[in-house]
């Protein structure tokens, strides 16, 4: 069964719940993407940029000291943090910027939470000569000030969003309003496997290179498939990117790690599968954190990139079908993992990716020595250094 179906559904999840003004744009995008997907010239161009500009393939690194520390499974890190701009986000940004060019849209817009997607879009917009505007919650602008400045250096306009919780959710709403207004000249480069069809499918396809590479690399390193894949899940693009090439390998377990914030019990978190239920936000039917009237809850996470009330619809499908498991780790566990990876392996991870590492801390000791796990290290932590210092009361 090929998912999504032609209506953009992954089972009951997905679809395209958007204002009429955007329907023709989504249809245009779907058609353009379909043509590009089957066009060798497009694929070659994309591969070219991924190789020479992004720096793919990214290494699959055996984390020896971390492995020894837990004495369990062999731990491999898929080094998306080594991509140009510092995270996996650029895999998708390049793909969509190429599409925008094919659709002759001179302007691109984006939302950003942690700023990684915004930086990736600002980067490719600069490279392709596209006009670029990035929407970001003012709360996120504060905790990711470095990335705000980076985007501006790259020539993008960064527009603060002061509505609602002033985080990713509100940035997406504002970007959708901009798109609705300027749809004839603008392509919206959504940053995760969220939103209306065809976004979750298209962004998954652009990110699936992560898993395709990792599958080849682990077969060559270990001569076998991994037992476990671990990735953090905000919208879930890095996780889908890693998981997708392994979906048919029934013996490969997959775990998505959500933001447990201050603890799931206290309500200040972004663990959609822990306490959410299906509903519609930003164009898609998926698990949402909402109250009984269907109002979207304010979420909390130390990591801006995971701080969002909805999860990508394909994850909802993987969750309900049981193909993937989902768990959460708290802010404190993620911060401890942030330190651990820095000290044991000399790699400062993004706070988002630190959530995946925190799950490794829990899972590795329970596995046998001959077992193998791959963790998606989706981004690097340079952007988070200031915030971590602030949290620890260190003045820089």
């Amino acid at each position: 069964m090929k998912l999504p179906d032609p209506q953009g559904r992954f089972g009951q999840f997905g679809g395209a719940y958007v204002p009429e003004t955007l329907v023709p744009a989504l249809q245009e995008l779907e058609a353009a993407y379909e043509r590009a997907r089957n066009d060798r010239a497009f694929q070659k161009e994309l591969t070219d940029y991924l190789t020479r500009y992004v720096g793919r393939p990214t290494p699959l690194y055996f984390a020896e000291r971390l492995t020894k520390r837990f004495g369990g499974a062999k731990i491999y890190l898929k080094r998306e943090d080594l991509c140009h701009t510092g995270a996996h986000k650029i895999n998708n940004a390049i793909g969509q910027a190429l599409l925008a060019r094919r659709m002759r849209k001179p302007r691109v817009i984006a939302e950003t939470g942690a700023g990684q997607h915004g930086v990736a879009v600002a980067t490719v917009a600069a490279m392709f000569g596209l006009q670029c505007e990035v929407y970001m919650g003012t709360e996120d602008m504060q905790r990711q000030a470095l990335n705000v400045f980076r985007m501006r250096l790259l020539g993008a306009t960064v527009t603060g969003v002061d509505a609602g919780s002033r985080t990713l959710k509100d940035a997406i709403s504002e970007a959708m309003r901009d798109w609705t207004t300027n749809v004839r000249t603008t392509h919206y480069i959504l940053g995760s496997v969220l939103g209306a069809h065809p976004y979750p499918m298209m962004i998954r396809d652009f990110q699936a290179i992560i898993g395709r590479e990792a599958r080849k690399q682990i077969l060559s390193a270990e001569g076998r498939l991994p037992d476990l894949l671990i990735a953090c899940v905000g919208g879930g693009s890095n996780a889908i990117g890693l998981f997708h090439a392994f979906l048919k390998d029934r013996r490969v377990k997959m775990v998505g790690v959500e933001a447990g914030g201050l603890g799931v019990a206290g309500g200040k978190h972004a663990a959609r599968f822990a306490t959410g239920k299906p509903g519609v936000l930003h164009g898609t039917m998926t698990y949402l954190l909402q109250d009984e009237d269907g109002q979207i809850n304010v979420t909390h996470s130390v990591s801006a990139g995971l701080d969002y009330a909805a999860v990508g619809p394909e994850h909802s499908w993987l969750h309900d079908s049981g193909r993937a498991g989902y768990t959460s780790v708290t802010d404190d566990e993620a911060l401890a993992a942030f330190d651990l990876l820095a000290r044991d392996e000399g790699i400062v991870p993004a706070l988002e990716s630190a959530h995946a590492v925190a799950e490794v801390v829990k899972a590795a000791p329970t596995l046998k020595k001959r077992q193998v796990m791959i963790v998606n290290l989706s981004g690097r932590g340079d952007k988070d250094v200031q915030q971590v210092a602030r949290l620890r009361g260190v003045t820089l």
Partner: protein
């Protein structure tokens, strides 16, 4: 004020005696259909006034609906507040935030509609984002809305393709599903949307969000004519209609004129004032008067 008793659709709309066998929309008398037919017979255009239910409070909403009816509104659109209103500009977003803070919810709004139905038969249309309906359950929403006295439903983030779960309940209860068309809609989409719409077709006058400025009336005129050619449904135009002048111009090309942000803004401006219903009523009356220059229907 003269018109107060004119809106008098048959009471059968509220009759609970209908059995499941009476499925199709057409068999149900509906206040929306009745109002458009009545106005058409008089050569008038419908003034559709939008309020955010619960802004500043649901008690105010009740008073406002009655005041707007007296001022000449022919149909009332009640916004259901949602935390993330992607189709709305800042004026309606902020109204939604105020309404949520005042404790408004879809359930409570239905109670308000029920209370209003003892006092008015003006057509009431809810404008609700999909998730608020989904949270209540599509089928039970339709039952409760019908029994409360709601006549129609606009879901700004639900194109016809996603309306499957609502259709059976809407058909059974006689609730009109009003879909939107936009300047970007292709001919093919116009056909799809018109076929699925009930009550009227909501033409979005501009490529944008609520409360933006209407600039291209020529395009509106052309698209409304295209929509009218494709079916019998009345066409109402909304988004960007802010002044009596806008209302006058739009009323010459469409069957209905929808005014939202401008009214919501008026409410926001005078929400501390004890004469708020009268002040908002005066504004609505000026819209209605502008729409019918040869033979004013309002008593102002």
């Amino acid at each position: 004020m003269k018109r107060k008793n004119e809106a008098n659709p048959r009471r059968s709309t509220k009759s609970p005696s209908l059995h499941a066998s009476r499925f199709t929309d057409d068999v149900r008398e509906n206040r929306i259909d009745h109002t458009f037919a009545r106005l058409k017979a008089k050569g008038e255009k419908a003034l559709i006034a939008y309020l955010m239910a619960g802004d500043p409070s649901l008690a105010d909403t009740e008073t406002l609906v009655l005041a707007l009816e007296r001022a000449g509104a022919d149909l009332i659109e009640l916004g259901v507040p949602f935390s993330d209103p992607i189709a709305d500009g800042p004026v309606i977003q902020q109204a939604a935030e105020r309404a949520l803070r005042s404790g408004a919810s879809l359930r409570k709004i239905l109670q308000t509609v029920r209370a209003l139905r003892a006092r008015t038969q003006i057509p009431l249309v809810l404008m609700a984002y999909y998730n608020t309906i989904h949270a209540l359950g599509e089928a039970s929403f339709c039952r409760e809305a019908q029994s409360a006295g709601v006549d129609g439903l606009i879901v700004p983030d639900m194109p016809p393709e996603e309306s499957g779960p609502l259709r059976p309940g809407a058909a059974e209860s006689g609730l009109r599903l009003i879909f939107l068309l936009a300047p970007t809609s292709t001919a093919e989409r116009r056909a799809t949307v018109i076929k699925q719409s009930g009550g009227f077709v909501y033409y979005v006058s501009l490529t944008g969000i609520t409360g933006a400025t209407l600039t291209d009336l020529g395009e509106v005129k052309q698209n409304v004519a295209r929509i009218k050619k494709m079916g019998d449904l009345p066409v109402a135009v909304g988004f960007g209609v802010a002044t009596p002048e806008d209302a006058a111009r739009v009323s010459q090309i469409a069957d209905g004129v929808i005014v939202g942000s401008a009214i919501v803004k008026k409410i926001a401006e005078c929400r501390q004032d004890s004469r708020m219903p009268e002040l908002v009523g005066d504004f609505v009356r000026s819209l209605k008067v502008a729409m019918a220059p040869p033979a004013p229907v309002s008593s102002s």
